[in-house]
Symmetry: C2
């Protein structure tokens, strides 16, 4: 054994190590103008149209959890990446890596969940691929979905469009997905059971963009939670972002579970929550549009964009202001 | 333990069990007109254009082998799936599942191979995703590439377009990829070393379609080898296909290695060879176009399409005719 540098779980976190991996390995290798944007969806000109294109692999453990499963996650994750870029999701591919010995019953259940989620989102799974590896060479099932969507003729939400004064909103309670998966994995019995929020958000985005076409930025708060989104935005345009802790919607049960486990809901993954930045004059319209949608009823105004700086702060209920850092390592591996 | 039905390595073979999995699990779950075509690329209408869309995961073992590596394979495989549908490949996504402990050196090498193959094929890798799983939860690196392409304004090669009398061609020597990977995996030392043929075939397809726009069907002979392609075609349109064993280009070294190991080159995977069906009057033009391209120099006429029946036969040099069946199980797991 040499002391050779190797990949660690932290590189999959969506946090600092992950960004380092992208900057130091992937960008130098693959550099091109599409990739360089580093958004969840690439924007690709095709025959006079602009297409959004995205991909995501899903390795969550366990593959069945309260509120969802790997299949539902795989469809919603890719639908949401497309929706957050402002595109209307159209078609998905699905590639499966299966471990020999996987019960057909589980495979059928995952397929049924994928089909139901695709119908809910209004997308078609148009092509697929299946590989089977030996027992022990993967953990049951790993899914990949890639997707394409088209952009409507309006300005596109992009982190670079944040402006000082913009209002920040979140579409609902934070931390449900991460805590649901963690509880299922570790066998914690919470009463009532904590359910994942995994859901396709393209309908919610459509409602928001209809109310506020000039929405500056959109992102689903998955790996690394809300903290990862606001830090990526602050880094992308060099502006400070300010959050109000009091304003963050977190269900009491999640707050208690996080406290018990020493976790901060700000950093816990969601799979059905978006973060939006809108011009301050449109904040109430955005809030109303989100709250009028079944998936946005608990939406809240949570902060604002400040001046140059590129850091994220949060005001605590006790009058203190502290920095919210990019998640550094991997809090909860294989949570989404 | 119950006697519950489970996934086996045979379900990943591209052969009979795989087709059963598709028919019995995937089609009932995801049924839609795009998927039902069951071609390697789906045809998706987008904003007045027709897009081809495909996905493939790559779990080959070992990940470095003479003539290529997992990265080159992942780009060429998806480029080729698009090219075989008659589409011009444009954009690729790349999703990686990495095992904690993977040396960065290997990751960089795989990325460099992907970038080089993308340049060779004239496609851009526009977006990506990375997941890291614990040691033991995958075998080093699993890659997924999905891709889109556009169709030129000409008739599209499809297995359903085969006609009695069509000539069958293959673009070069059979069996190189499968034998190279197998030799690398098992530590067989062949002299000279057997190299994989992994290559992007979109240029070769372009040359063929320029010479014979009315090419009826195209397919790359990957999992299950040439035998899988001709059986899928026979099944797709219910016609018999006849091969001439004498005419099959197989390098002497591969023939000897296959004999030694009890394998039939007809069933061994290729990653840089296509099979084409053209109207018999265009057979010589097709052959000339293939042979004029660096990747098709050893192209050959290998057989013809017969009457109704839906079976594949091969004429041996000794005057016998035998059936060529769809590969039933998994000959060489994780070969592509």
């Amino acid at each position: 054994m040499t002391g050779e540098a190797t990949v660690t779980l932290a590189h999959g976190s969506g946090g600092r190590s992950y960004h380092q991996l992208v900057e130091e390995v992937f960008l130098p290798a693959f550099d091109n103008p599409f990739l360089r944007e580093l958004n969840d969806s690439a924007i690709c000109p095709v025959a006079g149209s602009r297409l959004a294109m995205t991909t995501d692999s899903f390795v969550v453990r366990p593959r069945f959890f309260p509120g969802g499963d790997l299949g539902r996650l795989a469809v919603c994750g890719t639908v949401n990446d497309l929706a957050m870029s402002g595109a209307q999701p159209l078609y998905l591919t699905c590639a499966m890596i299966l471990e020999a010995g996987l019960p057909f019953r589980e495979l059928r259940q995952i397929c049924a969940s994928m089909a139901a989620a695709a119908e809910e989102a209004g997308v078609a799974i148009v092509t697929g691929d299946t590989k089977v590896v030996e027992k022990g060479a993967c953990d049951g099932v790993y899914l990949n979905t890639a997707g394409i969507g088209i952009f409507p003729d309006c300005s596109q939400p992009l982190p670079q469009r944040l402006q000082p004064g913009d209002a920040l909103l979140v579409s609902g309670d934070l931390g449900d997905h991460g805590m649901a998966v963690m509880a299922a994995r570790e066998g914690f019995a919470f009463t009532p059971e904590i359910e994942s929020d995994v859901a396709p958000l393209n309908g919610l985005v459509k409602a928001l963009l209809a109310a506020v076409p000039d929405t500056h930025a959109l992102r689903d708060a998955t790996r690394g939670g809300l903290a990862a989104v606001v830090n990526e935005w602050a880094e992308a345009n060099g502006l400070d972002l300010h959050l109000q802790q009091d304003a963050l919607p977190v269900r009491q049960q999640i707050r208690a579970a996080c406290e018990l486990l020493g976790l901060d809901p700000l950093y816990v993954a969601n799979e059905g929550k978006l973060v939006a930045a809108v011009p301050v004059g449109h904040a109430q319209a955005a809030l109303a549009a989100l709250q009028a949608h079944p998936l946005g009823r608990r939406a809240a105004l949570i902060g604002s964009v400040g001046q140059a700086g590129g850091r994220v702060t949060i005001d605590t209920p006790y009058g203190a202001r502290r920095f919210v850092d990019m998640p550094a390592g991997e809090l909860l591996p294989r949570i989404c």
